[in-house]
Subunit: 425 residues, 2 copies
Amino acid sequence: MADDVTAQSIAEIQAKLAAGAEAQALVTPLWERARAVEPKLRAFAHLPEQAPAALTEGPLAGVTVGVKDLIDTADMPTDYGSAIYEGHQPAADAAIVAQLRALGATALGKTVTTEFAWRHPGATRNPWALDHTPGGSSSGSAAAVAAGIVTLALGTQTFGSVIRPAAFCGVVGFKPSFGQLPRDGVHPLSPSLDHVGLFARALEDVATAFALLKLDAAAAVAIAPRDLRIAALRPPSDVASAEQVALFDDACAQLRAAGAHVEAIDLTDALPRLLHVADTLMGFEAAGVFGELRARFPDKMSASMAAYVDAGKEISEIAHQEAVGAQQGFRMGVGERLEGYDALLTVPATGEAPLGLGHTGDPQFCVPWTTLGFPALSLPVGMSSAGLPLGLQLVGRFGEDRALLAAAQAFLEAFPLHVGRPALG
Amino acid sequence: MADDVTAQSIAEIQAKLAAGAEAQALVTPLWERARAVEPKLRAFAHLPEQAPAALTEGPLAGVTVGVKDLIDTADMPTDYGSAIYEGHQPAADAAIVAQLRALGATALGKTVTTEFAWRHPGATRNPWALDHTPGGSSSGSAAAVAAGIVTLALGTQTFGSVIRPAAFCGVVGFKPSFGQLPRDGVHPLSPSLDHVGLFARALEDVATAFALLKLDAAAAVAIAPRDLRIAALRPPSDVASAEQVALFDDACAQLRAAGAHVEAIDLTDALPRLLHVADTLMGFEAAGVFGELRARFPDKMSASMAAYVDAGKEISEIAHQEAVGAQQGFRMGVGERLEGYDALLTVPATGEAPLGLGHTGDPQFCVPWTTLGFPALSLPVGMSSAGLPLGLQLVGRFGEDRALLAAAQAFLEAFPLHVGRPALG
C-alpha cells in the first residue's frame, strides 16, 4: 500500500539517490499517499491529478515539498484560502518556491491555508485526532508533514501561523528572522509582521533546507548541551495547560541536569505591549491590504474577516506609525535583554491542539517573537495524556538564525524529540 | 535712571552701532538695569559685580544675552540650579554660548533655572505680577527678556521650559527642531527630549539670531497671511482657561478674516500617547542622568526631584526602548498629518501665569511638540483681564524651522503681538 510509505529525511533521500535510486521513485509513492489520506486529512487545497514530475538536479532532488496556498505557484492554482481567488492561477512562482525548485525540490501540492492566512479556518484536520484543529494558518503544511506526505513544507507566520500548527501537529516549525526568507509572490496579510517559515519532522531537515536557501556553505558551529545558556520564560499557569507547563519545567530540569545554564527571565514589561503593538500593526495593515477586496466581494469574505478589516479601518495612521516605531524599539530592548543567552525557551501554544475545527487556537505565545522578528522554532518534544503532541519553543536573537538552530540541536541532545507517527484514523 | 533703559531690538542696536555708538555704551546701562531690578525680579543666578566688557565685532555686537544657568560659561559660575553645583565654574563655554560670542553678543549674566531644569522652582518672579510664577524651567531668561534687561536669552526645553515661560512672561519663545541648536556644555535632563531655545521680545530678533546661529545667508521666503494654511488645534476647555480659549478662537477668526485657510485638526489619537511616551523617556533618562548625584548628595537635591529620580529607576530599559521607537513613529505619523499646513496653531499653556512661586505651571500643551522634536514658537498676542500676558503657540514640521518662522511672521500680520512692558512693581 502506497499509504504505508512516508516521507523520509533529506539525508535519507540524498543517500538513496547516491545509491542509485530515481528521484521520481521517491516522489510518486508520496503523491499516492497524499491522495490516499486526503479524504480524511484535507491537507491540500490543490493536489495534482497525476504525480508531479520529480526534479532530479540539486541537493533537494527527490525531496517533496508542500507549498502553503498563500504562496504563488506557476503550475498550480493559488487560492490564498479565499473564495475570491477560487481557481486563480499565478503567472510565476513565488521567490521561495523558485528557490526550492532551483535546489531540486519537488512541489507535491498546495497545502490548505486559513482564509488569507487570517483566522477563518480551512478544512484540514489534525492527523493525531481528526476532530481537533491542526492549528493555523499554515494548517495543511503542518498536517502534511506530520502525516508523512512531504519532507518539507512552506508556511507563513504573521501572528503564530508556523509555530502553533507545528506544535499542534507534532512537527518542527521554524520561523526565521524577519526578512530572512523572501516574501515575493506570497499574499500579504500584515507586511510589518509577515514571515515565511519551514516545517519538517526533524530539526536537521529544517536546518539543511534553511542553509541551502541561504547559500550557507559552512556547517553551523555545534554547541554542547553543557555550554547552553537558556533564558527560561515560564508560561503563566492560568493560560497554558498544566501538561504544557509541566513539559516546560521538565525541559528546564533536564537541561540543568545536562549542565546547561538555565535562568528565569521576566519580560512582563514587554509582552503585553508587544501584543498591543501586533494588534495595531496587523489591524491597520490588514485593512489596507484587504479593504478593497472586502468592498468588491462582500459575499466572498468570511464575516469574521470582514469585521476585522472594518475594525482595522478605525486604527489611525498615527497609531500605526507609533506601533512601527515601538516595534523597532522593542527589537532593540528585548534583544539587549537576551544578550548572553543562546536561546529563550518558552511554549509554542497554550497546550495540545484544542478540540474542534472552527478555530485554530491561541497565538499569544508566538506573537511577541513575530512582532520582534526574532527567529523561533517549535520542537515536538512531548505528548499529552490525550495522545496529542506538545511542543516547546526556542527563540533566538534577531538575525541570529544559525545560532538558534545550533542551540536547538544542543537542546535536543538534552531533551529529545518525542513524537511518533499519527495513526491517521 | 539706568533702570529706565530697556534692551533694544537687534536691528535697533545694529543701527546705533552703524551710526557710531559704542557697544559698551549699549551694554552697561542694561547691566545697571539688571542690578536695579534684580532685588525684585530675581532673574539672575549670577550677575557680575561689574558691567561685562562688550564684544565689538560681529552682527550681534552690542546685543545683551541672558544665559540660562543650565548652560556652561567659562567666565561665570554655572550652578545648574542645584545646591550640588553651588559655585561650580566650568572650564569652557557651552557650544551655543561660544557661537553667540563669536557672533559678537555679550553675555550679561546667568539666568535662573529650576533645579537641573526639572520642576523645583528657582527664585525668579513674574515681572507682570511678582507673586505669580514666571514659568519654568527657563524662568530667569523669560523674565529678563520681559523686563527689558536683555535682547536675547538662552533657554532649554525638555517638556515645556521655553514655550511656557515665554507665554507667562509675555515674550517670544522659540524651541527649534530637535538637534538644531547644539547641546554641548548644557546639563542634560532627558537627552531624547532636551532642546536649546531662544527668547526675545520680537519675532524678528529670534529669527535673526537663529539665522545667524545657523549661518543662513539668505532671508527666509515671506508668506502673505492670505496664503497661510493653519491646522487649528483647539485646546479642551476643561483644561485651558476661558480667556486662553477665547484668544485662540479670536486668532482663528482674524486669520480667516485675513484670507488664511484655517482648518480644525484632531490629534486625539496621538496626544495622550505622546504624553505617555514623554513621561517614559524623561523618567528613565533622568534616573540615568541623576541617579548617582541623588545617591551621593541626598541632602542637596529637592525631595520632589529625588522622588522623581527614584521613580524613574522603576522604568525598564525595554519600556524606554519602546518609547524611543514610538517617538520616531510619532514623528513620522504626526508629520504626515501636518503635511500641507504652514503651521499648527494651539496654546502654549493653560492660560495666564498661575498665582504662586512654588510651581511653574502645566507643560501639557508643550510636551507633544517637544517629544516630536517639532519647532515651536510662543507668541505674546494677548493680555488677560488680570493684566497678565497670554500667548499662542505655532508648531512647524520637523526640521522646517525657517518655514515656521516665516509662517509666524505672516500670522502676526493678521494677529499682532499684544503686550506692553511690565511695570515691575
